[in-house]
């Protein structure tokens, strides 16, 4: 039970950690000052949420584990985030579409997690929902504005959706830890979110005059620790200081 709970928490946390890390790469490099600030604010929210999850997981783990150990000292295959969030920022269309596809899922997920039997996870979810609502509003607005924008912006957005849609199915596939936690009344039944996700995303995509591509093959693996080639680069960047100067502190 405890092992599965820790794994479950890490899975949730890693999605926020890796997406937060990705967005932080844009700090000072956003396409305009306002979007730069927005994306880094979203990054900060996600990293803040990650800290709450890691602090909880570290406490459950005991043996003097700290949140930093969990963030910086695991090996690639021990990270349990979905493949979607590790995909590169690409152009602004890719950054926004990745955000949009994740935010839609994240909000539905947290709304369920808020009612779960684990009071600490429920509290983190309740806190996070308020922030993620703003994220989803932000990314949805940009999807509409760029999709229903110029010919060029429309085309770039469609390319981004075509590229990233194949990563969405994995969000709803239950790992063993997730299934076990669902049985304990803690884990969210991911399959049950699928229909709502499809509906909400389609509605906005349609309003943006874009299309969800037909897909026969889906990418998966991140939630089992089998990542895309992108992950190594993220970790190299993220873990550098702790690897070069073990136990260093700010």
């Amino acid at each position: 039970m405890k092992e599965n709970l820790i794994k479950y928490i890490l899975g949730i946390a890693d999605n926020s950690l890796i997406l937060g890390q990705r967005l932080s790469e844009l700090c000072g490099h956003g396409p305009s000052l306002e979007t730069d600030i927005a994306l880094t604010n979203i990054s900060l929210d996600l990293l803040g949420q990650t800290r709450s999850y890691f602090q909880y997981a570290a406490k459950l783990k005991g043996e003097n584990t700290t949140e930093d150990d969990l963030a910086f000292l695991r090996k690639e295959r021990q990270y349990l985030n979905a493949l979607l969030v590790e995909q590169p920022n690409g152009d602004f269309a890719h950054t926004i579409v990745r955000q949009f596809l994740f935010d839609g899922f994240h909000l539905l997920f947290l709304e369920q997690l808020r009612t779960c039997a684990d009071t600490q996870l429920a509290a983190i979810a309740e806190k996070s929902i308020k922030e993620v609502k703003y994220h989803f509003r932000f990314s949805s607005e940009w999807v509409k504005r760029l999709g229903d924008g110029t010919e060029e912006s429309h085309e770039k957005m469609q390319v981004a959706i075509n590229d990233l849609w194949i990563f969405t199915n994995e969000l709803f596939l239950m790992t063993d830890a997730e299934t076990a936690m669902h049985r304990e009344g803690i884990g969210v039944d991911l399959e049950s979110l699928r229909a709502d996700y499809q509906e909400q995303i389609s509605e906005i995509v349609e309003e943006a005059t874009l299309q969800i591509p037909e897909t026969k093959y889906w990418q998966k693996g991140g939630k089992q620790g089998i990542h895309s080639e992108q992950m190594g680069y993220i970790l190299a960047d993220m873990q550098y200081m702790q690897r070069a100067y073990p136990n260093m502190q700010w």
Partner: protein
Amino acid sequence: MEATVFIEDSLRKILASVSDPEIPVLSIMDMGVVREAKLENGIAKIKITPTYSGCPAMDVIGDDIKSALKNEGFDSKIELVLSPAWTTDWITEKGRKDLEAYGIAAPLDADSDKAALLGNKRVVKCTNCGSQNTKMVSQFGSTACKALFQCEDCLEPFDYFKCLK
């Protein structure tokens, strides 16, 4: 969500002297982040809650509370609590006035807030001239809790403290 907050009388004034490092005019008591303050065997036990999960001010606030209490002879223990989650409803009337005087528009109710942030309605008042003829420049401002607005009458750019419920 309404939550009753117990604050020991002897600690109240000390806590009120601590301010948000990012909005120095706003006392943490008026911001509503102190959720409990009691004395146990001479030690001040303080519970604070973050405004936003990633709010970098929380660590500083914790340290500032500790040193303010120390100056008045109290040892303290600070605990960060997440539930119930902070909402802008917990900002006091005085806190709202202090925000406005500092040049930050105070949060509106949830419906007006949404309308303002989606650009559907001009309801956020300029902190410089009071005009409602204002437009949103960016949904995210200098910190996660604020959005950036500009007045179309006096052209003043200003922050709006977003409603969080």
